[in-house]
Amino acid sequence: METTLGQNLGDTHHDHGPASGIGRWLFTTNHKDIGTLYLWFSLLMFLTGGTMALLIRAELFQPGLQLVQPEFFNQMTTMHGLIMVFGAVMPAFVGLANWLVPMMIGAPDMALPRMNNWSFWILPFAFAMMISTLFMEGGAPNFGWTFYAPLSTTYAPPSVTFFIFAVHMMGISSIMGAINVIATILNLRAPGMTMMKLPLFVWSWLITAFLLIAVMPVLAGVVTMMLMDIHFGTSFFNAAGGGDPVLFQHVFWFFGHPEVYIMILPAFGIISEIIPTFARKRLFGYASMVYAIASIAILSFLVWAHHMFTVGLPLAGELFFMFATMLIAVPTGVKVFNWVATMFRGSLTFETPMLFALAFVVLFTIGGFSGLMLAIAPADFQYHDTYFVVAHFHYVLVPGAIFSIMAATYFWLPKWTGHMINERMGKIHFWLSFVGVNITFFPMHFVGLAGMPRRIPDYALQFADFNSVASVGAFIFGFSQLLFLYNVIACIRGGARATDRVWEGAHGLEWTLPSPAPYHSFSQPPVVK
């Protein structure tokens, strides 16, 4: 943190490219290298978490226990959730921020390059620790990614301590990443790049970063309390000592609900960059979008207990959280209209990034609809903790967050590598993913409504048909991601040369740089009109 930009990025390094060998990656303070590391790490975690998901779906293909035992099944659902949330989605967004934010605001690099290096390199250790619990006696954490006490405290396997430390490390990494993004955006904008001209992706990340700083410490607090309950005899969540297991849920969801927005706001930003590009029109209602995102951040702290309608809240509490949730849902939901209005009377083309963005709009909206249904407290009594909820949040996170990350990758990959992507392969990947996602998650609405609880390794016969369908879809979706891996590698290794602007409708500072983008983005600040 002592580092000033002058020492790192100023004239002394002006002409230097990357160092060679492994040292380049270990000691790099370059935002593009670190962005690349984050993205590869996230892809690796995505494939790991995905493999676990496939194991889960394989077990659920038929009624009865075939492949795994219930203990291991619970470990898989827990690790799948944790890895996808903290290992795949969040690092991918940080990676994108690293690559894009300096280029978009006309900065030479991130504001705090050494801290940037740190914040990445914590992650592999955190996840190595987390994944190593699978091989420990008593097994990995088996209490779900929401780790409700007392299942995660008094009744947890011994590996819970490692899980807690892993969460602490991830939290520190996220906080450092967020600080870096904020410092970069606030302090390193090129002259003339006023706040009001920031691309929406930058805006969404700025707000996300503040959210991270507000809630990651709360998560750290809640796991610290768990640690103290387990090892130091305190009773935060232990009813025997006057503690309260429901308190755990309140504190967890105080973190957890804003966390949902942390995973979706950068996606809003990405989609708001891509759709205008391929509609060859400016984003409809940019101002509203910025204001709405900012207020979502504040209001997201007021609705947490809608995850807890069945814990026995008094009537007034249920009503409060139902009303607040419904009121807040509207300004969030109608942002979809802005994207549609951006497309309306545009001049549309459908390259791969646009296809993913369109799928995002449609499928995220469907996830929003089921979210609206879940907000109705009495109806939530029937939906809560069933597959309907699983379908809901997977619609928001897979074709929401994950599709936006893929759209972003296809969109900016030519800028990063200097090569055009293979459109044909990209489209195949898109259609397989799109079909696979829907075959996997749409039937989950049905089994949920029919009465299938979530997180069960085996189920009654009436749920069998849709579960088989979902499992088939999961394998289609899962294996089609290998195409993504192939596409990315192929694009790095070769392909048609990309022009500087890459896409006909592209606007923004990053497209004024050559493709591939030079190692140091803007050594001379650009002039922003």
């Binding site: 940019y286 204001y291 207020s295 007034a316 009503l319 009303f323 300004p331």
Partner: protein, 70 residues
């Protein structure tokens, strides 16, 4: 940008924050807002409006309960 950055007082800030909560703001007003160099004004107002929002929803709940005769 032509406007005086110090122009607009409490009411204008309130209006902007309410517009944010509602999720709709015009380009013109946005330019005005961002010509102000006092983000704290907006942040504090945002928090205050959030508190008012909570109180209003609580009153709504009271009212609903009184109607439901519980």
């Amino acid at each position: 940008m032509a406007e005086d950055p110090q122009k607009g007082g409490f009411l204008k800030t309130l209006q902007s924050v309410l517009a944010a909560m509602f999720g709709v703001q015009s380009e013109h007003r946005r330019l005005e807002d961002f010509s102000s160099h006092k983000p704290w004004r907006f942040i504090l107002m945002g928090l205050a409006v959030a508190v008012v929002f909570v109180v209003l929803v609580m009153l709504l709940v009271r009212w609903a309960l009184s109607l439901g005769a519980v």
